[in-house]
């Protein structure tokens, strides 16, 4: 039996519902629901999860269909497959891994938003010839060019 793991889901075992642990979780079977741990979540090669997974550190060698949220680190191994969005402070994707989704890093969201924002148009005030003529006459009038006549 693995040490320091609160819950282990073996191969060929199906869980339906929400699994929450303060300690670490290791998944080698199937889960239909949320998997949440305050510590580590290890998703083995034979694992299939349909639902969000949330943990401090997440290691993925199996398949996840849903949001993956690691408050500390997320590592996707070569056999790992994620079909869903990622939210991780630190991210490692190994060669061969599959990831279909959007990735967000907390703290970097502002910078990402700025990059994504469309550039603002520079507005130039263009005056018509008539307007321009009026303004020259006004200035000349103020300076007394026409009153000396």
């Amino acid at each position: 039996m693995e040490n320091n793991v609160d819950t282990i889901i073996g191969i060929n075992v199906t869980i339906k519902g929400n699994l929450y642990n303060k300690g670490s979780i290791q998944v080698n079977g199937s889960v239909e629901g949320e998997v949440k741990s305050d510590e580590n979540l290890i998703i083995g090669e034979t694992a299939q999860i349909k639902g969000p997974v949330i943990a401090r550190v997440i290691e993925i060698s199996g398949e996840v269909k849903g949001l993956v949220e690691a408050t500390d680190k997320l590592e996707i191994h070569p056999t790992g497959r994620i079909y869903g969005d990622i939210n991780a402070k630190s991210l490692i994707i190994k060669e061969g891994a599959t990831f279909v989704g959007k990735s967000i890093m907390p703290g970097e969201a502002k910078a990402a938003a700025e990059v994504a924002k469309p550039r603002e148009e520079v507005k130039h005030e263009v005056k018509s010839e008539e307007d321009e003529k009026d303004s020259i006459e006004q200035i000349a009038d103020k300076m007394g060019f026409f009153s000396k006549k």
Binding site: M1, G10, N12, V13, T14, K16
Partner: protein, 258 residues
């Protein structure tokens, strides 16, 4: 002060009964002895001991007698002492005594550990483990508070105390399930393991923790504790609300994370 319930069927030699009695006298903890029989069951003898105001009821025997006395004493101020005879190694680890002499010495020091016990809905109890008596891999469903576990299990054990698993809390039961690994035939796996060609990966083992669980199987399966069938599926299994005052030695391996 001490009320001894002696399962003499566990004594291979008649002289052992006298040896134990003499040793308890030497330690200064002799008391009244009672023997379960057709006339008086273990449970009735516990009631008799409590009615006589004994504050320590001691079971001399295996897991079976220990579980029966534990079920009666849970929530009672009287303490449970155990002198193991042909008991499981888990029970010996729980009380911290590998021999009857060591256990008798522990009784003298009367170090008490308040623990929860495992209980079934029919009122039976287990101090260490309860196993599903499976003759072949069977579909099982286990219902916990927030989730459901479904598997074809080759073995399933629910432990209140298992020295190889650290409890996450005093009122948690540990469920260990061995599922059928579909990746390769069992025989091939055994051969490859024998020749050391494959690193042993026990990914067919599952571990779940819970205060309460319901166990279902397609057909009725016995639940065995201490070699005795104490219940059958479907069954509700949970930790006791009350504590049991158990006398343990310094070598007891009972520990919790909390």
């Amino acid at each position: 002060m001490y009320y001894y319930i002696f399962d003499i069927k566990k004594c291979k030699k008649r002289s052992l009964v006298t040896d134990i009695k003499n040793y308890l006298s030497t330690l200064g903890i002799s008391g009244e002895f009672a023997y379960p029989s057709a006339a008086y069951t273990t449970e009735e003898l516990v009631d008799l001991g409590l009615s006589k105001k004994y504050n320590t009821i001691v079971g001399i025997g295996g897991d079976e007698i220990a579980n029966k006395i534990a079920a009666k004493l849970c929530g009672n101020s009287a303490a449970l002492g155990l002198i193991p005879l042909e008991a499981s190694s888990d029970l010996e680890d729980l009380i911290g005594a590998k021999s009857w002499k060591e256990a008798a010495e522990n009784l003298r020091f009367r170090k008490i550990n308040e623990i929860k016990i495992g209980k079934t809905a029919n009122g039976s109890a287990f101090l260490t483990s309860l196993a599903l008596d499976l003759k072949m891999p069977t579909e099982v469903t286990v219902e916990f508070k927030d989730f459901l576990v479904q598997a074809k299990a080759s073995s399933l054990t629910i432990s209140n105390f298992n020295p190889s698993i650290e409890k996450i809390g005093p009122d948690y039961l540990d469920l260990v399930l061995e599922s059928v690994d579909p990746r390769e035939p069992a025989l091939l796996s055994k051969i490859s393991n024998f020749f050391g060609t494959k690193k042993s990966e026990k990914i067919n083992l599952s571990l779940f923790r819970g205060r309460s669980l319901r166990l279902f199987t397609n057909s009725q399966v016995p639940l065995v504790a201490g070699g005795e069938t104490i219940a059958k599926t479907p069954q509700l299994i949970e930790t006791s609300d009350d504590n049991l005052r158990l006398i343990v030695g310094k070598k007891s391996l009972y520990k919790c994370q909390e």
